[in-house]
Assembly symmetry: C2
Homo-oligomer: 180 residues x 2
DNA sequence: GACAGTAAGTTCAATGAATGAACCTGATAC
DNA sequence: GTATCAGGTTCATTCATTGAACTTACTGTC
């Protein structure tokens, strides 16, 4: 990656991390992947990202071991991008960033709630459950719509993501096509 | 910020956060500010960032309320950039990102350790102390050089940052000028 | 079997941002 | 008064991003 050159000189893990996920759009792609978005076209319509940039970001993330590209189980010629263990490990970062964004630049009404499915407690700053005291496996994180969330968004992926649902649960567009 | 436009369409706190700190270099500037770097020239030599970009990033961060620009107490015509409460609130994000970078792209030897000064416990994923169970105030975070850290770096700011020291403790270059 | 449509891209010209070097300005240092 | 430093600005070049158009391979539908 040509961009990262200068970062590399830094004696710093943050700089190394930013070489991988520091480019425009990259963290939003990872966020979507953690939400369960897997297909090129789903990323495309949900993010509103230019096609060429998406292709380049996905390739870079696969290269870095954050996503895995593999053929779709049902349609062998299609493929999907699935978060690896390394990608899942970005959840604490994204959770912390999200809280910072909400507390400093959001309006009062939260967009979404994240809860530990087993005990109902809201997930903490780094993805841990304050009640259980441990990091919650992503599959056990329940995503619920908050009062600030638009419940009738234009694109089908946003509609499929309204929830309630779990993190990592693959997005299915089939049943989401009915308007009010 | 012209860049952020597309992000803004997203119903998502992460996107809002990235509008503020998502540009190239920005998070590294904040990291340095949390380390105690305050002066334009110190950011410049430590980051190796182009002057124009630094000026623009600092202005944007002041604008967003992450940094505060104020006259130097000793030299009234100079000024310094100090992290605000909002800037300090980015510490959990940076801590999580740093751990991700180290665990996934670092070599085995850590560059730095972060410890709760009062009990000596290593700081957790989101800046909390696992022993005390609470977020550690940044002034109580002790930064120690790890085995992977270059102990004789070229620029004086890196030398002043070797530590041991505390987060937020202002960088002073005066005494750091003696080579081995 | 022709036609339309979808998925996952690539290519291209135009725009915008990043880079590094040079310049500027006002204060201190000698 | 000459040099140096802090904190910038300006400029030409390079590089990345953007949005639109094109491509290619497969999947239905009539």
């Amino acid at each position: 990656m040509a961009l990262g050159k200068d970062y590399a000189a830094q004696d710093c893990s943050i700089a190394r991390a930013l070489e991988v996920v520091g480019e425009r759009w990259t963290l939003l792609v990872v966020r979507d992947a953690l939400y369960g978005v897997r297909r090129y076209n789903d990323f495309l319509v949900h993010l509103g990202i230019p096609r060429a940039v998406l292709a380049s970001r996905l390739a870079a993330l696969v290269d870095a071991g954050v996503l895995e590209k593999r053929p779709c189980p049902d349609a062998p010629r299609r493929h999907e991008y699935v978060v690896t263990e390394r990608g899942r490990a970005l959840w604490p970062t994204l959770r912390a960033l999200s809280i910072w964004g909400r507390e400093n630049f959001g309006d009062d009404r939260p967009l979404r709630y994240y809860r530990h499915a087993e005990c109902g407690t809201e997930i903490g700053l780094a993805g841990e459950c304050p009640a259980c005291g441990r990091l919650v496996p992503l599959e056990d994180v329940e995503v619920l719509p908050g009062p600030g969330l638009d419940l009738d968004p234009a694109d089908p992926v946003s509609r499929a993501l309204i929830g309630p649902r779990r993190l990592l649960q693959p997005v299915r567009l089939d049943a989401a096509a009915d308007p009010v």
